[in-house]
Symmetry: C2
Subunit: 335 residues, 2 copies
């Protein structure tokens, strides 16, 4: 048999559909007895309101869209986890679409989510923030929150972390340990977080009065392979760095593996610091010193910002700060 509708309930309870609707919403206009009676009936018959019909009239689907570069990236996964948890608590569902780190696909993903009538859009680590500029004035009424990125525009919000401070802190820490040549492996060129971490690295280097030559900076895409390649390049230098700060843990982990293969002892011959603190970092050999990103908290913050915008009391942006977690991959330089 077909699912039971509000009309079925009305017929059985001998009242009008509107009364049933109100009773289920605890509307005070319905007498307490009727309310109880109807709610009991609904319960008994296993009534499930049609979200679709409801959405049609209210204009809200209670669904939020998330576009992520790739759930396979541990950072993204953790954020997504926070998003999902917070969304669920608020009674929202989460529609997800992946961009595969590709700007064009990212926009396509956003469009698809919009087609599904999401109430809000959350973009994790966008590669093409500027393409959302039209969202505000072209009549897209859904709030957009950019995570780890930003873009001016009406109805566009952002939650980020203070990447500069994190990178700066890492450099300062390495300097305090006694390192004088500190390398950096940057992340994807387009990304804001990559730019900021690089900038923080430079600030730290300057603040400590260290060698700021460009040969100490390598570029990558934030993958383990990049750690590999960067180490090779560093080792070819006349004076290789004694410590390396990486754009993210994935890169650092790759660099760690490459160092092991090259016969380098970590942290004896080379100190390595990552960024993000993904779960596996704690189990690397040696355990990775890294800058923790409050990933789940960022996810939750994104939901808060989004819901606030939906509720008409927008929070323009939210900046969270990370914290250096000390493990064993960084130590005093050899001599």
């Amino acid at each position: 048999m077909p699912p039971v509708s509000i009309i079925d309930l009305a017929r059985i309870a001998q009242v009008s559909p509107s009364t049933v609707s109100r009773a289920l919403q605890d509307n005070p206009r319905i007498s307490p007895e009727r309310r109880a009676e109807i709610q009991a009936l609904a319960e008994r018959l296993g009534y499930r309101p049609s979200q679709v019909a409801r959405s049609l009239v209210t204009g809200r689907t209670h669904t939020l869209g998330v576009v992520a570069s790739d759930v396979t990236d541990p950072f993204v996964a953790e954020v997504l986890k926070g998003v999902e948890a917070a969304a669920r608590e608020a009674g929202y569902g989460v529609l997800i679409a992946m961009s595969n780190r590709n700007p064009a696909e990212e926009i396509e993903a956003a469009e698809i989510l919009l087609d599904h009538q999401v109430d809000g859009l959350i973009v994790i680590s966008s590669r093409a923030p500027e393409r959302y500029a039209r969202f505000g004035d072209e009549g897209e009424r859904v709030p957009l929150v950019l995570l780890n990125n930003e873009q001016p525009g009406p109805n566009i919000y952002s939650v980020r972390m203070d990447n500069e401070a994190g990178a700066r802190e890492a450099v300062t820490y390495l300097h305090a340990l006694g390192h004088r040549r500190i390398g950096f492996v940057a992340g994807p060129e387009g990304g804001r977080s990559s730019r900021e971490r690089l900038s923080g690295y430079r600030q730290g280097i300057r603040a400590c009065g260290l060698d700021a030559s460009d040969e100490l900076i390598r570029h990558g895409a934030g993958l383990p392979e990049d750690g590999h390649a960067a180490l090779d390049a560093f080792l070819r230098l006349a004076q290789p760095p004694t410590a390396v700060l990486c754009y993210n843990d994935l890169t650092a982990l790759g660099l760690l593996a490459a160092a092991a293969r090259a016969g380098l002892r970590v942290p004896g011959d080379l100190s390595v610091v990552g960024y993000d603190n993904i779960p596996l970092s704690a189990f690397a050999v040696p355990p990775l010193t890294t800058v923790e990103q409050p990933k789940a908290a960022m996810g939750r913050a994104a939901i808060e910002v989004c819901l606030a915008a939906l509720g008409g009391e927008p929070i323009s942006e939210r900046i969270l700060s990370g914290q250096l977690v000390l493990r064993e991959s960084a130590g005093q330089p050899a001599r």
Copy 2:
């Protein structure tokens, strides 16, 4: 201004809404000229059909629900990626909810997705397959596909991999390498895949005529910590194993790290084989020999099965097979 509706288009094009609807669906009952005209108009005005309204009448939301234990698990993430890609290609959206490896939350997640009117439900590595039994006869019309698990019942399908064969193959490989005492670190007790891999391990042991004593089998939850604990236990044995097969890569990676800390050389002193082939396994020290699960393919298969059920031509189950990927964490035993 409010979004443009099919009625707006009708008024502007001087036709009825039904004509517009049909024209946009390329219905042959509408003359080619009108069709072109209307489609052009829709394009020009940026018309976006209301999926909600459409769903209300068609009864389909073109949304599939995925309940996952935890996206943070690399295995889950890869599967999800396959699911999302295949779903998108088929024009479906993906609603996601997490169970946090908790049976009660898993069911709650499924209910939530159902409330959102998903057309089908995919459960990755269910911890409580039996609780879905009521789905068929209690009037839930949505097909349910269990990934890496199964449950008899109408409208319940399953896609799995041949875990026994995979574990068997791994054991056979280790035996061929010269190992005679081969340990096993099992996964979560409830899980089907854990049971099957254990069973495959036992079959392999028997087939090779090796020591099958229970002291060679440890239990865990599939996390890096479990690898740690298992190694400790193995080392306390009078005759520790010379090789260990792990329930999954996460466990194996943890075991690898613990071995390094204990001063064991891998594979010299101990060979380690994982299961799943998550991305980081290739970058472990040493790179992990593991049984590959065709994760993305499983995700795609789940979509296929689900869509087939929706299309009225159900595929009852789908079994994929893995393949041993040889790297450096397994080799000949020392002497």
